[in-house]
Amino acid sequence: MNLTPLSPRILLAVAGRVLTQIRRDHRTLAMLLVLPCLLITLLWWMFDGPAGAAGTTFDRIGPAVLAMFPFIVMFLVTSVTTLRERSSGTLERLLAMPMGKLDFLGGYALAFGAVAAVQSVLAVSVSVGLLGLDVQGPVWLLTLVAVADAVLGTALGLFVSAFAQTEFQAVQFMPAVVIPQILLCGLFVPRDLLPDVLGAVSDVLPLSYAVDAMQHLTRTSSTAVVWQDLAVVAGFALAGLALGAATLRRRTA
């Protein structure tokens, strides 16, 4: 694969443009930022409720949900936007300009990473500040895991958008790629209680590590395992971006 060195100018241009597009779309922006907070509140209400005394269910499920939202949302947003970029001809135009594939991907990852950071700060603030989620580790690390998760979602979304011809198909990749990870990430059944085969599958799915990191942060104040998990998530995200780069073709039939 022939990759030109990164150009910060072009990368920032792409990131700035993507952010302008999101900012212009008020409904999407509101959904991106407010929806996760509302859903987490719903979850808290279901399990612990305003009257419930310091319940443990929300403390158990909350962290996993904090890891899931940025992943799901960014996966969806990225797969649809890059598909639009492929089908509208703008990607072809950019690739005919002095733009490297990594500039393009990096720009997207940076823009969505920034949105994810804001989204996560809001969701974490609501969870910890208002809903009383118990966090033993540093709260900022919780946010960092969420951002890594969002970049992971972006990377996988970029990759699968190459296999979809329409936005309709792109959205269908959500249940195919994301839901198995949600089922096996330890939210429903703790991962060590899964049947052996499923446990092994769960070990190679990136969301498992993100959820694991979140759960560690809420339970203990030691961060060694969290950094390990974070490195695995980041590794998957980079691999996803590399695979995504391979699907951006300058020459097409």
Partner: protein, 218 residues
């Protein structure tokens, strides 16, 4: 599928004319280097088509407007200007040259089809390309605007650029310095409009095209 193609495109405005589906876009995409080429060689300014050295020198406008519908005219141009490393003056000049100054701050998705394709054209005019490849840039435009755009193509050609314009409308042929008539993946005729008409003893390019097709079949 293009067959037996051996041609050289020089300065001036070259018109690539032929019916829809005859291979005009494929030929243009091969020149720009976004078409997967099965065999043969495409050379632009001595370099293989689409190579890195050419990306600053070749401007390409696709048939569909390749711009962002959710950004304004100015935002679109500013973005591409940053990618191409050109300044804000060039943005103003490009908007001016496609006559969209009054729509500068409008979102592209709300513009008419003709206006959108002009935004797309403006992006190609941000740099001063040595070769400008335009795929049906005037389709569906108002006659006044069509005239102005052809005048613009000639101005660019006079400034030293090679301009290759495709069209399936034969009456645009008269506006070109040189014509390439294309059908079913082959170039049937190559010459100035006058030469082609004289050779076939016809009065307009449309009849010349028909005469050549019939000769070819015979």
């Amino acid at each position: 599928m293009l067959t037996d193609l051996d041609l050289t495109i020089g300065g001036g405005v070259t018109g690539l004319l032929g019916p829809s589906g005859c291979g005009k876009s494929t030929l243009m995409r091969a020149l720009v280097g976004v078409q997967r080429v099965a065999g043969g060689e495409v050379t632009v300014f001595g370099e293989p088509g689409g190579s890195k050295a050419l990306r600053n020198r070749v401007g390409y406008v696709t048939q569909a407007a390749s711009v962002y519908d959710d950004l304004t005219v100015a935002e679109n141009l500013k973005f591409f200007a940053r990618v191409l490393a050109v300044g804000p003056d060039e943005v103003d000049r490009a908007i001016e040259s496609v006559d969209l100054r009054s729509h500068r701050d409008q979102v592209v998705g709300r513009l008419s089809g003709g206006q959108r394709s002009r935004v797309s054209l403006a992006v190609a005019l941000l740099t001063t390309p040595d070769l400008l490849v335009l795929d049906e840039p005037t389709v569906g435009l108002d006659p006044v605007l069509r005239r102005d755009l052809w005048a613009l193509f000639h101005r660019l050609a006079d400034d030293g650029a090679a301009v290759l314009v495709s069209s399936h409308v034969m009456d645009e042929a008269e506006r070109c310095d040189r014509l390439l008539l294309m059908r079913e993946g082959r170039i049937l005729a190559d010459g100035t409009p006058t030469e082609i008409k004289e050779k076939t003893a016809t009065h307009d390019v449309e009849s010349a095209f028909l005469a050549i097709v019939e000769q070819d079949a015979a």
